[in-house]
């Protein structure tokens, strides 16, 4: 900006100087034209308005110069000089004043611009400095971050390498293990088969061993068994004989006893016979007596005759019975001979042997 101002200033200055030159030249030229002062003033004011088409005017001035120089100079030099002196004075004054003003203006502007420029510079500088510092900080930070990142990347690389290595190792190990276990499986299967064959062989061998041994033992055992059986048989025979004899003896003994007992019985029977008779008689008498007593007690006053008759009959019957020596069993008559009255069942006619009574 400041540069532009300088340029524009110089440009304006140069323009103004050019204009001054033009004015001077016009002053020199125009009086020769015999133009009125108004026109000159007009021309002067026109000169001030001159800005752009200077070259055009310069061309015009140059063309005018060549035509009118020689004719006018000598005639109007004096008039011209006087007018021009005034004009020049005024113009000088005006020029000076303007110049002063302009210069003042320019100075002011310049100062202004300068100050503004300085301020701007400062401001810019500050900004720049700040930016610079900021950027420096950034740079520092970024450097640090960069370092940090580099470090991290290094670490990561390291880790990657380690992982790679370990994975490689691991893979190799697993491959080895795979091969090893494959081989082991194969080997173990082979061993298993061998062992199975061995087992089968043992199985067979034990089978035939057992067969042979058992047959062998069996043969011996058979002999032994036979032997043992013979012995057992003999023994059993002996025992049987013993038992036989023992029981034979017992049997004979018992038979003997039996015979003795029978004899005894017969003897006793024979002995008893005479005794029997007396026993019978006594017994019958007793019974009759008892009967009579009983009857006399119970049927005292009645039927005495009957009783007597009955008694007689009974005595006779008893005697008759006593005379019988029949060995037959006891015949207990339970009723008397008479029909009307019932008598006690009497045991008076019991005759017989002692044996039958006892029985």
């Amino acid at each position: 900006m400041s540069v532009n101002f300088n340029l524009s200033r110089s440009f304006i200055a140069s323009q103004l100087t050019n204009e001054n030159d033009d004015v001077l030249q016009r002053n020199i030229i125009l009086p020769t034209d015999n133009l009125p002062s108004n026109q000159t003033r007009q021309l002067v004011t026109d000169f001030i308005d001159l800005n752009s088409p200077r070259t055009h005017h310069i061309d015009i001035i140059k063309s005018n110069n060549e035509n009118q120089e020689k004719q006018i100079l000598s005639e109007e030099v004096h008039h011209r000089l006087h007018c021009s002196e005034l004009i020049t004075e005024k113009m000088d004054h005006w020029y000076l004043v303007m110049k002063k003003n302009l210069i003042n203006e320019f100075d002011k502007l310049r100062l202004q611009f300068y100050e503004e420029a300085q301020r701007n510079i400062l401001y810019e500088k500050e900004i720049q400095i700040k930016e610079y510092i900021h950027l420096n900080q950034d740079i520092k930070n970024m450097r640090e971050i960069l370092i940090h990142y580099e470090y991290i990347i290094d670490q990561k690389n390291q880790i990657e390498k380690n992982l790679d290595k370990s994975l490689d190792l691991f893979q190799n190990k697993t491959i080895l293990y795979y091969h090893y276990y494959q081989w082991r499986i194969f080997y173990i299967e082979k061993r298993q088969q061998k062992y199975l064959l061995l087992l089968a062989k043992h199985f067979y061998e034990e089978k035939i061993k057992r067969k042979v041994f058992i047959n062998w033992k069996y043969m011996i055992e058979r002999e032994w068994k036979k032997h043992f059986e013979l012995i057992c048989k003999k023994k059993s025979k002996i025992i049987l004989n013993e038992l036989y004899h023992k029981y034979e003896m017992k049997y004979k003994q018992l038979e003997l006893q039996l015979l003795n007992a029978n004899e005894e019985i017969n003897r006793l029977k024979f002995d008893k016979k005479p005794h029997d008779k007396y026993l019978k008689k006594a017994f019958m008498r007793g019974v009759c007596a008892l009967n009579m007593e009983a009857m006399s007690v119970l049927f005292k006053d009645e039927h005495e005759l009957n009783i007597i008759i009955n008694e007689k009959q009974q005595r006779e019957y008893c005697k008759h019975k006593n005379n019988d020596n029949s060995d037959e069993g006891v015949t207990l008559t339970g009723s008397s001979i008479t029909g009307d009255k019932e008598y006690l069942p009497s045991t008076m006619c019991s005759t017989g042997d002692g044996r039958s009574i006892h029985i």
Partner: protein
Amino acid sequence: MEFNFTSSIFPKSTKSSKDRRHELTPEENDEIKEVFELFDNDKDNELDYYEFKIALRALGFDIHKTEVEGLMHDYDRQGTDKITYHDFHEIAAEMVLRRDLRDEILKAFKLFDDDETGKISLKKLRSVARELDDNANEEELKAMIDEFDLDGDGEINFDEFMAMLSSD
């Protein structure tokens, strides 16, 4: 007439072709069945190559790999690389019928005679009895040897062994 069973010039097979059996005894049948069931690991009623080889070994036939492969190839009709029970029975029956009794007896003798002195002593017999978990007492074992010890050396050699089994 005394046969020297251990001599090398004695004919190998003691069976003439007329005496050869054409039928399996029920024990042998059971044997084959038992072996099949024992060694059919995956219980699919078929034996693959290894199971087949092992089963044949369990019947006492030590067959080489190529022969086994050949047999499998012949009998494998479905192309599954496995042998059914029926085929196995066939193969095993044929082999069992071809079993040489003398060889078997020799094998058994060798098993009793583990230090290869050619004779079975009381000690060896006792160890075999212990192996088989047999509770035979000393008297029995002694009797076993004495009964068949014909030459009276206190031990059983192969001839006596053979005689013992033949008298069975």
